[in-house]
Subunit: 295 residues, 2 copies
Amino acid sequence: MQRVESEIIRLIEEIGYGEATRLFKTLEGGKRVRAKLILKIASSNERAPLLAAIVELIHAASLLHDDVIDEATTRRGVASVNATSGSKTAVMLGDILYSKAYSELVFFGAEIAKIIANSVTLLSIGEMMDVEMSSEFNSDEDKYLSMLYLKTATLIEACAAAAATLAGKDIASHALYGKNLGLSFQIIDDILDITADAKTLGKPAMNDFREGKCTLPYIYLHNLLSKDEQKKLVSFHAKELNEGESAWILQKMKEHKTIEKSFELAKKLSDEAKEIIKNDTQLVSILEAMIQRSY
Amino acid sequence: MQRVESEIIRLIEEIGYGEATRLFKTLEGGKRVRAKLILKIASSNERAPLLAAIVELIHAASLLHDDVIDEATTRRGVASVNATSGSKTAVMLGDILYSKAYSELVFFGAEIAKIIANSVTLLSIGEMMDVEMSSEFNSDEDKYLSMLYLKTATLIEACAAAAATLAGKDIASHALYGKNLGLSFQIIDDILDITADAKTLGKPAMNDFREGKCTLPYIYLHNLLSKDEQKKLVSFHAKELNEGESAWILQKMKEHKTIEKSFELAKKLSDEAKEIIKNDTQLVSILEAMIQRSY
């Protein structure tokens, strides 16, 4: 991973704009899930760290734009660029990172460049759907999972497929592994938004629902409540909740085991992924670590 | 140009997201300067209309983000996407168009893809500089022209270079032609913002200065005024002006011939470009038409 970090810094400095370098360095790198995945799959290829660095620039760009969209004030526990330097700067810094990533991607050949660029189209569509869906309470699980696939899983799927291409491994099975990893990863993130404390999250708990996002535990809950209770839940959507209101939601989720149901789906997707790449112990261990961070 | 328009529609529909298609169709296509330039330079190549369509998607994406940044409510006389659908949607639609463009660009080979992607990095840096520079009165001509080159001329320069690459023509001379065309085009746009009426512009006259942008006629004026007058001009920066204040600026510009001085620079850059490609009558005529639209 050290080579990935130094490639990231090299790419940023190559842009040649001091303000962009300065702002980039204020970002928290995060878990580098995508980079690690590429290194694991294409470990034999000496260009894997560069591909991993490129994808981390793309991921950082998508988060910058995501934070503008969500009007988020923090990201990974530190102030977001849109909060410190304004949303204008955050939009442009994102564009700089995206375009720099594409500039470098061209040297990996048309197949890999196309896989990655296409996933950015899908993730941007996912973001647009997310904005649209947040305007009212969504209780449609399939619709939610389609959006989640686009918004979160497509880039991880693309990383796995691109790394497999680079390493001459089977593309379809690695893509499916990446897709399921991405989906279950995000479902667990959605669960942690409810179960973890604000300090661990780096943001207030139950933030998703406050922002209008009806994640799986809320969707399952809605569909198991009585008509009157459904109305009550919907009335809490996308607003600041007092302690009693939050406690009511949590109590109802406990009664109807909707956190557990959500976790079961994440586990099922993760098990499917494990089955696909069962001979690759490193990829299996990524899934196991991911599932375990939940409880 | 009809083939370019149909390629644009084909690419947009290929994205497969109805909301993106609908929103894209609300955009005004504009003069398609970049597409026309590519068609003129690479007329012999059957893939020129596709390259032209890709570049128009990139240009549209940059305008969507530009309008978010400028908080513009109109673009080319129609309501901007950020005004009708919110800046979140405008940011994401821009990302969708950018990524779709890059997805298609990969089939033109590394050299062309790199030229175009790199110009997007530079134009985004230019946008960031523009935001930064708008916060106070800038009287530095060189600084302004550097920003203008990045923000406006780099993509036109890249179009000319990419089209020359596609057509097997000399890259350096076409790139320089494109750079000077872009710079003089923008200087004339800046002049028209002052001299044309609101109806022609599709936005209020002297809008740039109101937004904090000190274009050449303002920079030249500042540097020719007395100390007291300079203070007065600076006090008008980035705010709504009453009729008397606007009239004072226009009168002073007339006295000091700063519109003419700005036009002289545009003409000089355009003449240089003409000299470079003097044997290509079509490229010469683009320059002439552009210069003539000013007066």
